[in-house]
């Protein structure tokens, strides 16, 4: 199970890097989403995947009986999902506004704020 998930994570990372290298903002957005999901799955896998035993300590015991999945990574993912979701919502709106105002979704054509040489600056 772990090795299957590891391969999935690797595949997702590959896809997201490919998308992030693109110039189109829409692909960049999809790359960011894939990257976030790949990361969450990675943390999930790092916390052991173990069948059906709930991580509960029985009455009168100090530690759980038998091997259980670590529940801390799941708490971490919960935090990370909320954060990546809200940040994605922000960049989604930002990209749409940038497309409306700048008239392009090609990051190569977004050169308005880049450092300019003095001559270019004066030509403007």
């Amino acid at each position: 199970m772990e090795s299957l998930l590891s391969l999935t994570v690797a595949g997702l990372f590959g896809i997201s890097v490919y998308l992030l290298l693109s110039r189109s903002l829409v692909r960049l957005l999809l790359g960011v989403v894939t990257l976030g999901n790949a990361t969450n799955l990675l943390i999930f896998t790092a916390g052991r995947i173990l069948g059906t035993v709930p991580p509960i300590v029985p009455e009168g015991e100090q530690t759980p009986i038998g091997e259980i999945a670590n529940s801390l990574p799941q708490a971490l993912i919960l935090t990370a999902i909320v954060i990546s979701f809200s940040l994605f919502a922000y960049v989604l709106v930002l990209s749409y506004r940038a497309y409306q105002d700048l008239g392009t979704d090609d990051s190569d054509e977004m050169q308005l704020s880049e450092a300019r040489s003095p001559t270019e600056g004066e030509a403007r």
């Binding site: 940040l87 930002l94 990209s95 105002d101 990051s107 977004m110 450092a115 040489s117």
Partner: protein, 507 residues
């Protein structure tokens, strides 16, 4: 395990993070009352400054202070641990934010207030303090995201085309950087099984597969170098920092990159202390190239704020060099430089707003009246802060650069010492050119984008004067700050007291 009952003083370790966050939430609830918001924010930040000073004094006199959340004993609960490094940086960050808050009285108009400038400022301060004071690596990631969210809001206040363009680059690059940080943290937990810095010190050092850890270290290095804007990952900074409102770019330049540097200082001492052979060498090269390319980029810029953006980058180089040299003196110099760079860069960005505002009132066509005659106070302040960046005595930038050159030579790294000196020389040229063009020359040369600049007034001049005064004090009496920076450097050289403060004195 440390099971002693908590004294109320221990709350000082977390109050600087809680207070601004709670106040920020309250300020959002009060968003209808525009006039009240700024006074509320100013009051909260004054209170916050008091908390930070109390915390620093306590850490100086009684050592490291730790507080663990919930009924979970460390290392399972999330710890807040204030050591010298965190406390000094938190105080400096709060001071700069307070100065910016006062400046915002003039720079932030009613529309920007309605869009929530002050709540975002408060959340930003909360995020800074949380990042500097937390003792948990995943918690550090959360604070980084809180910083990111509020900075996303601040960077587009105004909504001009230029800002949207800058914000797109800023947002995507920083989003990827924090995600890399999260990936590294997930892998680290999977490998070592703990997230508490104090616990990581021993567990990471004794981890059997050290080469696995060095992969994780490389991930952290890329993520934090991206946040800190180090070579070769700095291009987003000069493209975005000159676009927002003046007070917002001052906040960004002073605070955000320093969190990345702080992350390097903390993580590469607590987690990857032993056996990370490639990190110091990589960082030394990156630091040298960062300071050279940053200063060279500044010389190539004609307008003031883009030039300042490159100077922020150059400053990162000195802090990284201080870290990578590895000695206590060098790291003290790096910490000193972090504090002085927070002050100076905030001052210069705030000043660029006043210069921009003053330029509009001076008649431009054919008159001989230059800005110098009209605004001599601004000209003097620009030179004071500019010389501090360039590292000329008697201002605060001189001492850390002097220490860095000496430490580089002591380690037979002549080229690193040369990089510091050449970068300082180029910075002097950039400052002098910008001064001449702005104050003596034709005013079109300092054209600074689409934002309106605020006018000189009590609210705008006081913060810059306070910062300039501090720069002079730290330049003339460097011992005041060096004592604290030295304590910070000792704290990250030996984590013994840190671990003892969090986990108890041991069996």
């Amino acid at each position: 395990m440390n099971q002693a009952a908590l004294s109320p003083v221990t709350w000082l370790a977390i109050l600087p993070a809680i207070l601004p966050l709670a106040a920020g939430a309250l300020a959002i609830a009060l968003r209808g009352r525009l006039a009240m918001q700024r006074w509320f924010a100013l009051l909260v930040l004054l209170l916050e400054l008091g908390l930070n000073i109390a915390l620093l004094v306590h850490v100086r006199d009684h050592g490291i202070m730790s507080l663990t959340m919930g009924n979970w004993l460390p290392p399972f609960g999330i710890s807040f641990t204030a050591d010298m490094l965190g406390a000094v940086l938190a105080l400096a960050a709060t001071f700069v934010s307070l100065a910016c808050c006062l400046y915002a009285f003039a720079d932030i108009d009613e529309v920007a207030t309605r869009f929530g400038f002050y709540p975002m400022l408060l959340v930003l301060v909360g995020g800074m303090n949380g990042a500097f004071l937390t003792g948990d690596i995943f918690n550090l990631y959360v604070w980084l995201e809180i910083l990111l969210i509020s900075s996303f809001g601040l960077i587009i206040l105004g909504g001009t085309r230029l800002q949207l363009d800058g914000a797109v680059k800023y947002a995507f690059l920083n989003l990827v950087a924090t995600t890399l940080f999260l990936i590294a943290t997930g892998l680290l937990y999977g490998a070592v099984g703990t997230l508490n810095f104090a616990d990581l010190v021993a567990k990471a050092a004794n981890y059997p597969h050290q080469n696995l850890l060095s992969v994780i270290a490389a991930l952290y290095l890329v993520a934090l170098a991206m946040k800190a804007a180090a070579f070769p990952l700095f291009f987003w900074l000069p493209a975005s920092y000159h676009t927002p409102k003046f007070v917002a770019s001052a906040l960004f330049a002073a605070l955000l990159t320093k969190v990345g540097v702080y992350g390097i200082y903390r993580i590469f001492t607590a987690v990857f202390a032993g056996g990370m052979g490639f990190v110091p060498l990589t960082l030394t090269w990156a630091a040298g190239l960062t300071m050279l390319l940053g200063a060279a980029g500044a010389v190539a810029q004609h307008r003031m704020r883009p030039m300042l953006g490159f100077l922020v980058v150059a400053g990162i180089g000195y802090m990284l060099l201080g870290f990578s040299l590895g000695t206590e003196n060098a790291r003290a110099a790096g910490t000193f430089y972090m504090v002085q760079s927070m002050l100076v860069m905030a001052g210069l960005y705030l000043l660029s707003g006043l210069v921009h505002g003053a330029r509009k009132t001076v008649p431009t066509s054919g008159s001989s009246a230059s800005l110098y005659d009209d605004q001599i106070a601004l000209a003097i302040l620009f030179l004071v802060l500019g010389f501090a960046v360039a590292g000329l005595p008697p201002f605060s930038g001189f001492w850390p650069k002097f220490a860095l050159v000496r430490e580089s030579l002591a380690q037979h790294l002549g080229w690193a010492a040369a990089a510091v000196l050449i970068s300082g020389f180029l910075t002097t040229i950039a400052i002098a050119r910008s001064f001449a063009a702005t104050f003596w020359g034709g005013s079109h040369l300092s054209d600074d984008g689409e934002q309106p600049g605020p006018q000189t007034s009590f609210a705008t001049l006081t913060p810059i004067l306070a910062i300039a005064a501090l720069v002079l004090v730290f330049g003339l009496l460097p011992g005041t700050l060096y004592g604290l920076a030295g304590g910070a450097a000792r704290g990250i050289a030996d984590y013994g007291p840190y671990v003892a403060a969090v986990l108890g004195a041991g069996p």
